[in-house]
């Protein structure tokens, strides 16, 4: 009897290990699988999209979204949201390209960053001190910022982007565009900082239970302040790349940034209120969404078909992901 028994033990441990491995794979954010699937689709239907040159260009297109996603994911990790990205992008685009301020380019760029910090701080004041809903505060902020730009510009299209940003937005080293490096240059330090610092632990704590974080003396207000300031600053960087890429100012630049970043963050595995979520998952998701837009455009479905596919794919990806992880809930 002992023979089969011990074999059974051996089998279960291997099976256990397999199950653990499978478990780990299953807990990967949906963006990983989704990206693979899309690449596969492209391989079958539109192999042209998979040439390194084009993949790199898509990566460049994804960079602004990817940077915005960094901010959004930070916000969501402390149970907040930032929907003001569009407004920030408009202001940045206007400051940089309208030529209303006779300042050198580098000063304009600094000014934009200052505006980002200010916007983040104002968002945070409303959200923490006045305890207003972050959805409404940041939406209203987007309205105010966009409105200010409209009031100043009277919808006149502004002029050209600063050369430095055009360079960053459009330049390539060989076939490799520069923009993704800006993305990486922001992503890597942020990921490391969140992983290694006390600040990162505080973010996790607030995400898991803000009330407990508060009663145990974690500086909740400061953390949320920092998060929102970072988020708005990332939005500024995102707008830099957008403006640089487009090359000229545009009134409704970055209009989809807020909602797309939201989708990317959630597809990237950051969940509200679980104190979970990395930085890499959302980044992959940003690439996935951009790739999806390209793929759908290349199918030439027309607007209706494109929108329907886009919606269906995001929904199905999310369902597939959460359905797999269903039995991790409380109800068994």
């Amino acid at each position: 009897m002992s023979g089969p028994d011990s074999a059974a033990v051996g089998r279960t441990t291997i099976a256990d290990r397999l199950r653990a491995l499978q478990g780990a794979a299953l807990t990967l954010p949906v963006a990983y699988g989704g990206t693979l699937l899309l690449l596969l689709c492209a391989y079958i239907a539109r192999p042209a999209l998979l040439s390194p040159f084009l993949l790199l260009l898509i990566l460049r297109q994804a960079a602004p979204l990817g940077i915005a996603v960094l901010g959004q994911s930070l916000c969501m990790r402390v149970l907040s949201l930032d929907l003001s990205f569009g407004g920030v992008a408009m202001v940045v685009s206007y400051i940089l390209t309208a030529g209303m301020l006779p300042l050198p380019d580098w000063l304009l760029i600094l000014l934009c960053l200052g505006v980002g910090v200010a916007v983040g701080a104002v968002n945070a004041i409303f959200i923490t001190w006045l305890r207003a809903s972050s959805v409404i505060v940041t939406l209203a902020m987007a309205m105010v910022l966009g409105g200010i730009v409209i009031a100043f510009s009277q919808f006149r299209a502004p002029g050209d982007a600063p050369d430095l940003l055009r360079l960053v937005g459009q330049a390539r080293i060989g076939i490799v565009p520069v923009a993704p490096f800006v993305w990486l240059a922001l992503l890597v330090p942020l990921a490391l900082f969140l992983r290694l610092s006390v600040f990162g632990r505080h973010v996790d704590a607030i995400g898991a239970n803000p009330r407990a974080a508060w009663t145990s003396g974690i500086p909740v207000v400061q953390v949320i302040f920092t998060v929102h300031i970072l988020s708005a600053t990332f939005a500024v960087f995102s707008a830099f790349l957008l403006v640089g890429f487009v090359g000229v100012g545009s009134i409704d630049i970055g209009r989809d940034l807020a909602l797309n970043s939201l989708a990317a963050v959630i597809l990237g595995g950051v969940t509200f209120g679980a104190g979970r979520g990395g930085v890499v998952g959302p980044a992959i998701a940003a690439f996935m969404l951009t790739f999806l837009f390209n793929l759908l455009t290349s199918f030439g479905l027309g607007e209706p078909g494109k929108l329907m596919m886009q919606g269906a794919i995001v929904a199905l990806a999310a369902i597939a992901y959460t359905a797999r992880n269903r039995n991790r809930g409380i109800w068994k």
Binding site: R201, N209, A212, S216, G217, V223, K332
Partner: protein
């Protein structure tokens, strides 16, 4: 009603292994055991929350399989869960009748609901307004409403999972009477408690679980306190409370409270908390102990008054913010561990590590000594799969240990604890007491509030009795008795004006 060989696993932990048990109508059946022994899990099988992996549950000889708590309720099983399940945004009446709201003509009959709720509260001797939202109630009041909810159900089996963890003696007496009534009406009652005296007072039979396994079932009459403890803990337990050290000749103050008016309309209080001592704030439920402690912790801005921390001969006035008090070295352990205390989705290690990181700057490296965490877990005897287990999946008592452990790891001077051993088994209780005593002995100071009078008497050095928000008496714990504390705590009997300075 019978459990036959039920087994329940959560991932790789077996919360219950092949437990069999039966209870007869018209009896009160106690289930006891250490924290994490599987008591709540066993009851949740019956309440339809979990389904057994193996084995079966029989009710009146028929096998039951509930899809959810609703099914169990409909089958006549009423449960008061260990975790409070009241909805904060529903009124007392609505909470009591949630799931079985009276209707008239298809619409809610709020009048009938309030009337019936009123009656249920009357049976418990409570004078709460049935329209109050439950979010505005204290934990003890919420617990009483839970009991009211459980008792008004028209059920055959009643489950009470640690209903008295937050209750005082008078309320426990009310519950005892009600359970007596249920028994007389031929109902089966399962009763879980870590307060062994209650088991001997209320219950006919007692079942002991240990590590998910059935240890013994016996009539309470055949057991005594020590034998029951031995069954639970698996060893004889020595002294529950650690010995009190001799009072130092010239005690140093740790916290000085002056003219503190915790909330508008409350009297001012003033007292000193000494280094090396454990001080108790005793009194009946809702007399203001909670407000005083929370004002001291900086959670709520007091109307007036000052709290000063003395360290190394220097006096630090404390601002009214939790961030400031915790940075100054004061820790606060709230009574509601689920909502205010713990990060349920984070692991044990992460919860404790957040304590270790208390005073570090945000940009500092968050490296913590994993050995220290393991040490603490061992010292507190946290029963868990490993340090990566999410705190939310621990048993109630083990959660309490993690919460206290987090502060003990944080290198603080003063610990303000609401209900230090809420829901903790006797074995773990003595461990927590020892840890608190040890903390004090090493120069710390501890202030506790507790609904268990014996805890004040056994653990504390000094007891301040609070009534109507004022400190009406200061007693040496060594010489105090339950009677002497109660005399001061109940209005009218104590001579007024004996307030401590």
């Amino acid at each position: 009603m019978t459990f036959r060989e039920v087994t329940k696993r959560f991932g790789s932990t077996a919360a219950l292994s092949a437990v069999s048990l039966s209870g007869a109508a018209g009896s009160v059946h106690a289930v006891t055991g250490e924290n994490g022994a599987g008591k709540s899990t066993l009851m949740k099988l019956l309440a339809g929350v979990h389904r057994p992996d193996e084995g079966e549950i029989l009710l009146d000889g028929g096998r039951i399989a509930f899809a959810g708590p609703g099914d169990a309720l409909r089958a006549g099983i009423s449960t008061v869960f260990q975790e409070l399940t009241l909805l904060p945004n529903l009124s007392v009446a609505e909470n009591i009748f949630l799931g079985r709201e009276p209707r008239r003509g298809g619409l809610l009959d709020r009048r009938a609901m309030r009337r019936a709720a009123r009656q249920a509260l009357d049976r418990l001797g409570m004078t709460l307004d049935v329209d109050t939202l439950c979010g505005a109630l204290s934990v003890a009041e919420q617990q009483m409403v839970e009991i009211a909810k459980g008792i008004t159900a028209d059920a055959r089996v009643f489950i009470f999972d640690e209903p008295t963890a937050a209750l005082n003696a008078p309320e426990i007496a009310k519950l005892e009477a009600l359970i007596g009534e249920l028994k007389a009406r031929g109902r089966l009652v399962f009763y879980i408690s870590h307060r062994l005296d209650e088991i001997f007072r209320f219950c006919d039979t007692v079942t002991v679980l240990k590590d998910g396994e059935h240890v013994a079932t016996a009539p309470t009459a055949t057991l005594d306190h020590d034998r029951l403890v031995a069954l639970m803990v698996g060893r004889a337990l020595g002294q529950l409370y650690p010995p009190r050290p001799a009072a130092p000749a010239a005690p140093l103050p740790a916290l000085q409270v002056e003219g503190l008016v915790a909330r508008d309309g409350m009297p001012a209080v003033g007292f000193a908390l000494m280094r090396g001592e454990i001080l108790g704030l005793a009194g009946l439920e809702g007399q203001g102990q909670r407000d005083i402690v929370r004002a001291m912790a900086g959670l709520e801005a007091p109307s007036s008054g000052r709290v000063a921390l003395h360290r190394d001969g220097v006096v630090h006035q404390l601002g009214h913010s939790v961030v400031a008090t915790s940075r100054a070295g004061i820790g606060f352990v709230p009574e509601e561990r689920k909502t205010e205390g713990l990060y349920l989705t984070l692991s044990i290690a992460q919860n404790i590590a957040l304590g270790l990181l208390r005073n570090r700057r945000p940009w500092a490296r968050a490296r913590v000594d994993q050995g220290r965490i393991a040490e603490l877990m061992a010292a507190m005897r946290v029963r868990a799969r490993d340090h990566r287990q999410a705190v939310g999946t621990l048993s109630g008592g083990n959660q309490q240990k993690v919460m206290i452990g987090r502060w003990l790891a944080a290198g603080i001077d003063v610990l303000l604890v609401e209900e230090p051993t809420r829901g903790v088994d006797v074995g773990a209780k003595s461990e927590i007491y020892a840890l608190l005593r040890d903390f004090a002995a090493r120069g710390g100071a501890v202030l506790i509030t507790s609904s268990e009078l014996t805890e004040h008497l056994g653990l504390c050095d000094r007891i301040l009795v609070v009534r109507g928000g004022a400190i009406v008496a200061e007693l040496e714990a060594a010489s105090a008795s339950e009677e002497s504390v109660m005399r001061h705590a109940i209005a009218g009997t104590a001579t007024a004006g004996s307030a401590a300075a």
